[in-house]
C-alpha cells in the first residue's frame, strides 16, 4: 500500500516539477505581462497556454491553430511533426505525467467532498467527443473559417480550452487592469466552461482528459505504437481484474494494455498481484543488463 502511495506521489512531484520548469517566468505573475523570448517558438508536450503569465514555451494545440489560421500555411508540418514525435515516443504518458491541466484535475479528484465515480453515464460514447472536438474545432474551423483578410480564429482556445482560462485568462485579468476593462461574454462563457469542468473533476476522474481534450485524442492514437508501452505477461496474468479496479480511466488492462484512453499513470502496474504488467522501458533495461552481464 505504502509503495503504491509513494509511486503516485512521485508522479505528482514530476507533474509539479514539469509545470514549474515550463512556467517559470515569475516576472509575468508580478507585472501581468507574458514572456516574449525566443523559447516561445518551442512547443511543450502538454496543454499549456502560451498566454499564461509564467509560460516559457508554446502550447501545441494553440500553435497548431495559429499556423492553420495564418495566411501563409494551410497545414502545419512543424507542430504536427512535433505531436507525432512526442506521440511516438510516449503517447499519453504526457497526459499522466506532464500536462498541467491533468495535474489540476488529479488534485481536484483528491478533494474528499463527495462519492467518487469513474465515468459519466454514456461514457463509451462521450469518449468519442474529443475526436469530434479535434477534427471540428482544431482542424476544420481553424483552417476553413477565415475573415476578409485571410486570417482565422483559434476556435478551440476561444470557446473550449479550460486550461487557457485557468492559467492564462484568470491570472491576466487579475493582474492587468487594462484587460479587466475588456471582459465580455466570451470570458464569462469560458469561466463557466472551466467551472463546470472543475466541479465535475471533483466527482469524476479527469473529465476533460476523458471526454474533451484534443491533445489527449491525438496522443491516444499513438498509444498502441509508442516506444513507451505497457506489456502484459499473459502467462503471469491471472485476470483478477485488480488492474481495472485500480485504473481511474476504467481500462481492462489485461485485454488492452495500450488502450487509447490509458494515461500511463501506473496505478494498474502497482495493483497487479502477479506483476504481470511491465513497460517497454523495463523490458529494455532488463535485456540491457542481461547482455552486459554476459
Amino acid at each position: 500500500m505504502e509503495r503504491k502511495v509513494y509511486k503516485q506521489t512521485f508522479r505528482h512531484v514530476v507533474q509539479a516539477a514539469f509545470f514549474a520548469l515550463t512556467n517559470g517566468y515569475v516576472q509575468g505573475f508580478v507585472t501581468g505581462k507574458i514572456y516574449a523570448g525566443g523559447n516561445k517558438k518551442i512547443c511543450v508536450p502538454g496543454l499549456n497556454c502560451y498566454s499564461c503569465p509564467g509560460a516559457l514555451y508554446a502550447c501545441p494545440i494553440g500553435s497548431l491553430q495559429a499556423v492553420l489560421n495564418s495566411r501563409q500555411f494551410s497545414i502545419s508540418c512543424y507542430v504536427f511533426g512535433f505531436l507525432m514525435m512526442v506521440g511516438a515516443l510516449m503517447g499519453r504518458f504526457v497526459c499522466g505525467w506532464l500536462c498541467p491541466f491533468g495535474m489540476v484535475q488529479d488534485l481536484l479528484y483528491k478533494i474528499p467532498l463527495c462519492r467518487k465515480i469513474k465515468n459519466l453515464p454514456g461514457h463509451k460514447y462521450l469518449t468519442k467527443l474529443k475526436y469530434v472536438i479535434l477534427v471540428v474545432f482544431v482542424f476544420l474551423l481553424s483552417s476553413l473559417v477565415k475573415d476578409i483578410t485571410g486570417l482565422g480564429q483559434p476556435w478551440f482556445c476561444e470557446y473550449i480550452c479550460p486550461s487557457g482560462t485557468l492559467f492564462g485568462g484568470i491570472p491576466l485579468v487579475i493582474l492587468n487592469p487594462q484587460l479587466r476593462t475588456a471582459i465580455g461574454f466570451r470570458f464569462i462563457w469560458k469561466v463557466l466552461v472551466l467551472l463546470v469542468i472543475v466541479l465535475m473533476a471533483v466527482k469524476v476522474y479527469r473529465p476533460f482528459c476523458k471526454y474533451l481534450c484534443p491533445l489527449g485524442a491525438l496522443y491516444g492514437l499513438c498509444n498502441p505504437i509508442s516506444l513507451y508501452r505497457y506489456q502484459v505477461d499473459q502467462e503471469a496474468c491471472v485476470k483478477c481484474g485488480a488492474c481495472q479496479k485500480a485504473c481511474d480511466m476504467d481500462i481492462k488492462v489485461w485485454e488492452t494494455p495500450n488502450s487509447v484512453e490509458c494515461i500511463r499513470c501506473g496505478k494498474c502496474k502497482n495493483a497487479c498481484p502477479t506483476h504481470a504488467i511491465t513497460t517497454t522501458c523495463e523490458t529494455f533495461s532488463r535485456r540491457w543488463k542481461r547482455t552486459n552481464k554476459k
Binding site: 507574458i34 494553440g62 511533426g81 487557457g164 485568462g169 470570458f187 505504437i225
Partner: protein, 56 residues
C-alpha cells in the same frame, strides 16, 4: 505458447511502427522549421492571445 509468440510478434511490429512514426515526425518538424512555420508560432506566442483567454 503460440499465442504468446504471436503477441510478441505484434509487439515488435508496434515498436517498428513507433520508430517509423517517430522518424516521420522528426522529418515533418524539420520541414516545418525550414518552411518558416516557427516564426508564425513565435509571433502568436509572444503576444497575449486575447481569443485564448476569452477577451476580444
Amino acid at each position: 505458447m503460440k499465442e504468446q509468440r504471436m503477441k510478441l510478434s505484434a509487439d515488435r511490429k508496434a515498436g517498428m511502427m513507433g520508430v517509423l512514426v517517430l522518424a516521420l515526425g522528426i522529418g515533418l518538424m524539420i520541414m516545418g522549421i525550414r518552411n518558416g512555420e516557427v516564426q508564425v508560432v513565435l509571433e502568436k506566442a509572444i503576444k497575449i492571445c486575447m481569443e485564448c483567454i476569452g477577451i476580444g
